[in-house]
Symmetry: C2
Subunit: 506 residues, 2 copies
């Protein structure tokens, strides 16, 4: 009886595939976003913030490999007028809608950047979230390869500005037109019959995309009869002839350190195809522009094996890969892989307006990039916790509060303990959990002598951890008494010292 | 026939009630958010970012005046397990869920701030959006009035830090318990029969909430028989007796400049009610703490007429109001009104855990605050446009690009014109639209002499606008030729001068 009367309580649980981000992680991501925004701003890009919600109609259907209802988006019908609404799945589809809607008021070309969460209605899994951050930059209204080159240069600058050292990333460029040209030459794409061999071409694209994982022999097998993997599963191939497969393989392996050398090889491989030749000269112009700006093969490279998944790319495609090793969950060393991708999509605005509007851009996977920097150990240091003014005598909250106010007015992050002050150990455990650098203590004894104790918690931890005492530390006791009037000066002093110590750690 | 074949194009339109935010507005809001975050951080609050999507069950139903399906939220059923999901309608309900879910890992008290969009499924109207920003700070796990005082002090500091001068805002504090005590004394609330007179109390609450708009006589009428407005419409009143209505009116008008005086009056009005007496002493403690910290009646005041709409408040409630006049759409002078509100909600976490967890906090309506600062003319100046390197000779893109790269490397926001360069007038119109401070020009003539023209567009606009020439400007021609090698130095110089000129404008 009593049980039935009991009201059922809601479950305190994030929905499946969603997660909460706390203090340090939020702060690190915000710092990364503002550094990215600084670079984008310097390049002349303007911020745009479109709503999280769009009509399903205007978002369109461009997500790859979708096996879910609603094409992988979270969608519902509006109570107001029965329109189908959905959460955006990327920042590019909304940009096309924004540009089509506001094109008369926007400058042309329109350089914009956008950062924020996007949502994918995918089956949740470990490390696979249904809400994640993207950070995009796009130039709408310019067909010039200089626009593509600018995007790639900016991507390289951005990676360095968030803490990826030169030499530990590579921006790779390819062109869908070159690949199409090679497939024309190999006889598996006929511009007058675009639907013919579509299945074969699909298999070729997916095979090329797997070069990193399968190696050249694996790709070659998939171009022919097919391939058996380690588990014994067999994947059917594209069943190209040996000649055809060899042509595709020569393309895949055409990349050279030197852009000019790569271009020469690609020109040979697409000879006779108008599309292919156009694609190669676009790559050449991009390459020359980057060369002039000083972006060499240590930063940006033409790589014919780059294939991006999204259906809307029409020309150059870009990908940024981190090349340093990290240790994965199974303890294996591996490269981190792709953290950004993009390309030219000349038909996306046309969906709305009927007129072709050239556009090119890049999307950075902010959460992946942050995870990579954390794995490398080069994420920005998180801010430290506040200085904690402890409560020894609960009738003198006003005195403690006054200390906090003085500290805050001096720009110091500080707070008074607001929990139950009965148990002093609880206050120190709280300080530990908050990562407080200092605790301020004033019992009745200190009060009488008009002084306070400044307890250096960071130093205390260090001293406790390291048994062998260091001469320098002997002169830095973890706890000292100072006159009440000197509180602010002493705290500023101690925090500076703690920061210097941290710097020395890095 | 041809018409039928034509594919239907999607409409390029934001969904009803949603909007796009462009350059300046996004930048101003971000600047405001980071200033708010700075203050919150200094007070010891940590950032939290929970997902936009929550289960409907955990969000609960706390929105006031909802006449829509799904209680005013955007909701849908998850494909995965048929759970009802919804977009968050505020940042407080998710905080309660987060704290209940992670309470074993979080410090207690837990001070957190959160900023981001929230969504309301309301009927869209002019100036009424279905997605808007909130910026919240809350302390969970402390029942101390010092926590409420801290929130109010922080709110005052925050308003000043984003550009509201002292004296042009007021933070008003009240306590739900005091109002309940007054209603007990007036005989319209009986703690042993809480449901009795619920209708009357609802009318009283709504009437008190309208004091600003209706004045004391209007409120008094609504406490009695009712009130006829200017249009002749009649609103039924609470039908209190004269004695009862007078008691409520004495409460509503009990506010004095001096907190202590207000407290004394309130103590008299709630005499005999345990709840009321407790509420008054909470207000007194908050008032004393703020006094000690130097927050006088010019910044924070006890005001018994403050009633907040949300159903979950259990004690102190807060509201921040801007007191400067703005000109509204009809050209009338009026005060801007409320930009932030909050209070103590001790039962919200209990919904999940069954144990009472005290909590108090504030929510700033960022979009409203930004609109107010814009209306007052004190929003932060937006960043200027980029320096535009124009394209005179399309065979020399590399030269122009090199100029841009040099400028960017020197930290100057710069870009090359990426549109069709045929029409030079079009390039200058683009520069005008982008609000570019300078344009760089190098035709074949300048190229031969190895120099460039630096055109000061901002100065040019000013010279064109003002007929009477100023001596100073005669020495500042809007256009000058400099050696190619001096480009960066000259641009840095001109931008500094332009900024100084702008400063002088403010």
């Amino acid at each position: 009886m009593a049980r039935q009367k009991k009201q059922q309580r809601p479950k305190a649980q994030t929905p499946k595939g969603f997660r909460d981000c706390f203090g340090t992680e939020v702060a690190e991501r915000n710092r990364m976003l503002s550094r990215i925004a600084e670079v984008y701003h310097r390049y002349g890009f303007d911020p745009l913030e479109s709503p999280a919600v769009e009509t399903v109609e205007s978002l369109g259907k461009f997500l790859p490999d979708v096996d879910r209802p609603n094409e992988g988006v979270f969608a519902w019908q509006d109570d107001d007028d029965a329109t189908w609404l959905a959460l955006r799945y990327d920042l590019t589809a909304p940009l096309a809608r924004v540009y089509a809607q506001h094109r008369n008021e926007l400058p042309t070309p329109y350089r914009r950047y956008a950062m924020g969460p996007v949502w994918r209605n995918e089956k949740p899994g470990p490390g696979r979230f249904r809400q994640f951050y993207q950070c995009d930059a796009d130039t709408v209204g310019s067909s010039s390869p200089a626009a593509d080159a600018e995007i790639c240069a900016m991507l390289a600058d951005t990676l360095e500005s968030v803490g990826v050292p030169r030499g530990e990333y590579i921006v790779r460029i390819n062109n869908r037109k070159v690949l199409n040209g090679v497939m024309e030459v190999a006889g598996i794409l006929d511009p007058s019959e675009p639907e013919r061999f579509a299945t074969e071409r699909g298999i070729v694209l997916r095979a090329v995309d797997k070069l990193d994982r399968l190696g050249p022999q694996g790709v070659r097998a998939l171009l022919g009869e097919g391939r058996k993997d380690e588990s014994g599963d067999f994947t059917s191939g594209a069943r190209l002839s040996d000649d055809q497969a060899d042509t595709v393989m020569r393309f895949v392996e055409a990349g050279r350190q030197d852009m000019a050398a790569t271009v020469t090889r690609l020109r040979g491989l697409t000879s006779g195809s108008e599309t292919g030749t156009l694609g190669v000269s676009e790559l050449e112009t991009i390459g020359e522009s980057l060369d002039l700006q000083g972006y060499g093969a240590d930063r940006i490279r033409i790589d014919p094996s780059v294939v991006r998944g999204l259906a809307y790319y029409t020309g150059p495609v870009f990908e940024a890969e981190l090349t340093f090793d990290i240790t994965d969950d199974q303890g294996r060393q591996r490269q981190f892989g792709s953290v950004a991708g993009g390309g030219r999509y000349d038909d996306l605005v046309k969906r709305f307006t009927g007129q072709e509007v050239p556009a090119t851009g890049i999307s950075i996977g902010v959460d992946r990039l942050l995870a990579a920097l954390q794995a490398r150990g080069s994420a920005n240091r998180a801010a430290t916790g506040p200085v904690l003014v402890t409560v020894m005598d609960r009738d003198r909250l006003g005195d403690y509060q006054a200390m906090v106010t003085e500290l805050r007015n001096a720009g110091v992050r500080a707070e008074m303990y607001l929990g139950n002050p009965k148990n002093f150990g609880g206050q120190l455990r709280y300080a530990d959990r908050r990562d407080c650098p200092l605790a301020i203590i004033q019992g009745s004894d200190e009060r009488k002598r008009n002084c306070v104790i400044v307890k250096n918690l960071a130093l205390g931890k260090r001293l406790a951890a390291e048994i062998t005492s260091n001469e320098e530390w002997k002169n830095q006791p973890a706890q000292q008494e100072v006159a009440r009037a000197d509180l602010v000066a002493e705290v500023l002093n101690s925090i500076d010292a703690a920061e210097r110590m941290q710097q020395a750690d890095i």
